[in-house]
């Protein structure tokens, strides 16, 4: 079966399941007794295992299988959830994720076995269920086998019995209950005529002593005499081996009996080997997936060594799977409807064009244009909706991250999130993860004090980090807030002077905000020591660049001793915006509506001067004026008008008034880049093509304010 066509679905669903697992594990850590959670985890792990198996990713399957075993024990109440267990499970999740990434890039899961995780899982499983640690008996068996001659193994044929998962479960339970597991191979005399009858008597004798779990050949086959002169049995019993042996030998025509303790560990491994063999056989039947066969072959040669050469061969290439978005079918239906309306509108225009009496049709034409406009507006909105994704997809990995940080940093902290359902454009969603992660790490590492310090300061011992997302007009705001120590601006100032970033004189005149802005400069870190988590000095400036690349901006507020807040403001969408078209001299510019607060007509006499800068006092707020024509080197107008048209723009809470010559009107524009060769001075965020083919530049108000 060629499964490659299912790869995309597999990847999508695996991601979902991994996320569920991660979420639920976090809950489980808090509420170890929560049955719903355990069930949910079990289901997710189970489907994951099934899918990985179907796709032929056997390492992934093996790992999930082992994790599932643990969950299954927890679900059956055999085990308690402990921190250690959750840690291992999280490591398992990470490993699964790396498998997934490999698959994403090469369609192959890679060759990392993650044996250590498997071992840890098994030892926890063993400990948790109260059984002996299987590693030890396994060793004993090895020793015994080493001492015993080779033919002894042949003699004890029960060692080759294949045991299913279910039976292992039963055996483990029995072992836990303090019973012995005994393997027996019975040899019947070659001259015996009624083999089945003898075997029946052996079974009868054994049933008095314990419970027969498995026989090889099966009981049915033995009754039908479908065996040679020996058969093997696994028995759960409380009696000792000698007694069993003598009981069997009491049956006449029994030539010999081999009996020994039955080692589960060994059997498990055998069972697994068998499974693997099967899986490999399956794979070899698939000629369409040579890569996997190759990988399987490679594994046979070096089963436990990671082979860096193997993945290296393929990495660097394009991911084999295209990125896909799941779209609600309703949204698609709406799109389809709109497209059909578009066609109707087009037909309407054609019929007007072809009709003879052209003069009369002015109104009909206008009607059609209006109709077309309505359709395109709706179409735009719908397409935007398809592109929108809830921010949840990014932030839902953070609780896990904070949990890990809690362990790593030895600080207790909690992450509170709100507004995960806030929707953002897909391109933004893809890019915003890293900056947010960085800010959260910063908050955890530098923002929050250690627990002792917090107690000493009279703060709650557990530090809090907040991640809030909400929509604000045409923007989406994401706030990362902590209630830690805040930023010591004096320290920052001192550091900046030490580093030569600013002179002491400059430092004197700097406002609180100016100083905080220093943090966003390249290679500026105030952390005294570089930690694993953050503080390499390549932090906030990268965050800022990333956010700005998305057309957003970032600011920081801090109160010493009370915490700091980083506010990221992002545009709802990148591609199409509403803009106000303005005229400066002979040139046309577009100002995004999202950043415009109001438009005012200001008489020249209202302009005041503060520190030789022009300002106006607008309803009690002092707003600095920016003469756009000067900033943009436009040929100035010959005569000053008596009043100025001022477009008030805002960036966060700051306002500024842009003086323009003329207002043209509102227009929906498609933002295009002006290319990378031309020196982009940040004031121009792009260009738009107007209806008549002319190009208008888009003013980035954020850069001016």
């Amino acid at each position: 079966m060629d499964v490659s066509q299912y790869l995309e679905i597999f990847i999508d669903e695996t991601k979902e399941h991994l996320q569920t697992l991660s979420d639920q594990l976090l809950i489980l850590e808090q509420e170890p007794e929560n049955e719903d959670t355990i069930n949910e985890i079990f289901r997710a792990a189970h489907s994951l295992k099934g899918m990985a198996g179907t796709m032929g990713y056997k390492r992934m399957q093996k790992l999930t299988h082992n994790m599932e075993n643990v969950f299954s024990e927890i679900r059956n109440g055999k085990m308690k959830v402990q921190a250690e267990l959750v840690d291992v499970l999280f490591r398992g999740l990470d490993a699964l994720e790396s498998y997934l990434n490999n698959i994403l890039e090469t369609a192959d899961e890679g060759t990392e076995d993650n044996q250590d995780i498997l071992n840890d899982l098994n030892s926890i499983l063993a400990k948790g269920t109260g059984a002996e640690i299987p590693a030890e008996p396994a060793k004993e068996t090895v020793k015994q086998e080493a001492v015993a001659p080779a033919n002894d193994d042949n003699f004890m044929k029960f060692k080759e019995i294949a045991i299913s998962e279910y039976e292992i479960g039963t055996l483990e339970k029995a072992k836990e209950a303090g019973q012995n597991l005994v393997g027996i191979t019975v040899y019947i005399a070659e001259n015996c005529i009624l083999k089945a009858a003898r075997a029946f008597l052996v079974f009868k004798a054994l049933e008095d002593l314990g419970e027969v779990i498995k026989s090889e050949p099966s009981v049915q086959d033995i009754e039908d005499e479908k065996f040679d002169f020996d058969f093997s049995i696994i028995l759960i019993t409380k009696e000792d081996k000698e007694k069993i042996k003598s009981a069997i030998l009491n049956v006449s025509e029994i030539k010999d009996v081999a009996i020994d303790d039955f080692s589960l560990q060994q059997e498990k491994e055998q069972a697994k080997e068998k499974e693997q063999e099967k899986a490999e056989e399956k794979k070899e039947e698939k000629p369409t997936q040579p890569a996997m066969v190759q990988a399987a072959a490679a594994t046979q040669e070096a089963p436990k060594k990671a082979q860096p050469a193997q993945p290296a061969k393929k990495s660097g290439g394009k991911p084999v799977v295209n990125r896909s978005v799941r779209v609600d079918i309703e949204k698609l239906d709406v799109l389809m409807n709109l497209v059909s309306e578009l066609i109707i509108a087009k037909n309407g225009l054609i019929s007007i064009g072809s009709s003879e009496n052209g003069a009369k049709d002015g109104t009909a034409f206008n009607e059609q244009v209006e109709y077309l406009e309505r359709v395109t507006t709706n179409l735009h909105e719908s397409v935007m909706k398809v592109r929108m994704m809830p921010i949840e997809t990014v932030v839902n990995k953070f609780p896990r991250m904070i949990r890990d940080l809690t362990k790593k940093l030895g600080k207790k902290m909690e992450l509170y999130m709100s507004g995960e359902e806030t929707e953002l454009d897909r391109t933004v969603i893809d890019e915003i993860g890293d900056p947010l992660q960085h800010l959260l790490r910063n908050a955890a590492d530098h923002g929050l004090e250690s627990n002792e310090e917090r107690i000493a300061l009279g703060k709650p011992e557990v530090g809090s980090i907040f991640l809030d997302a909400y929509q604000d007009g045409n923007n989406v705001v994401i706030e990362v807030r902590d209630n830690g120590k805040g930023i010591d601006t004096e320290k920052v100032k001192q550091k900046a002077i030490d580093k030569g970033t600013i002179t002491p004189e400059q430092a004197e005149t700097m406002t609180q905000k100016d100083i905080i802005d220093l943090l966003f400069r390249p290679s500026f870190s105030t952390a005294e020591k570089i930690s694993d988590v953050s503080g390499r000095g390549v932090g906030l400036d990268v965050v800022k660049t990333n956010v700005e690349k998305l057309g957003g901006d970032i600011e920081c507020k801090t109160v010493l001793g009370e915490g700091s807040t980083f506010i990221i403001r992002l545009p709802l969408t990148l591609a199409i915006i509403q803009a106000l078209m303005v005229e400066l001299g002979d040139e046309k510019y577009a100002i995004p509506l999202g950043s415009i607060e109001t438009i005012e007509d200001v008489p020249l006499s209202d302009i005041k001067y503060v520190q030789t800068k022009e300002v106006i006092n607008l309803r009690g707020t002092v707003i600095p004026l920016i003469r756009l024509d000067e900033v943009l080197d436009v040929e100035p107008r010959e005569q000053e008008a008596e009043s100025l048209t001022v477009v008030i723009v805002k960036k966060g809470e700051k306002l500024a008034g842009l003086i323009v010559d003329n207002l043209i009107g509102q227009l929906e524009i498609v933002i295009k880049s002006i290319g990378k060769y031309i020196n982009n001075n940040k004031m121009i965020s792009g260009a738009a093509i107007l209806g008549d083919g002319e190009v208008a530049l888009i003013i980035d108000a954020n850069a001016l304010v």
Binding site: G675, Y677, N679, N681, M683, G686, V695, L697
Partner: protein, 158 residues
Amino acid sequence: MENINSTQELQSKQYICVKIGTEQYGIDIQYVENIVRMQKITRVPKAQTYFKGVINLRGEIVPVMSLRLKFNLEPDEYTNTTRIIILKLEPQASVGLIVDEVKEVVDLDPSCIDKATYNANDDKSQFISGVGKHEDGLISLLNVADVIIEKDKDNEVK
């Protein structure tokens, strides 16, 4: 000469021969995407002086630079023969060069190209990769990548 030409035909390169002022320049044809007539250029404030602005090329925004200004010659005078040569060095990044006139496409094989000598005093020489001899004239071959991509170091020195 003819014989050598035919044996080395495979290695010869095609250049678009353009005129800027009195000189002829050659632009490697593999970078040329399009040649368009002069059209309205929208000025981009605060850009490098030799960037005249951007144009709308069938729905794409393409920045346009003046080779004259880049070479510190007299500013362009737009005439009927003025053309914008659209170059594409990388996908998604076109750029236009304003030239006085586009003359022809010439085949130059390596034997007719002399390596340019670098002259630190000459602004232009850093953009020339060689001089090709074609019929009677000489064609300065532009090193397109260097012309387009700003070298920050140069700026600082200047």
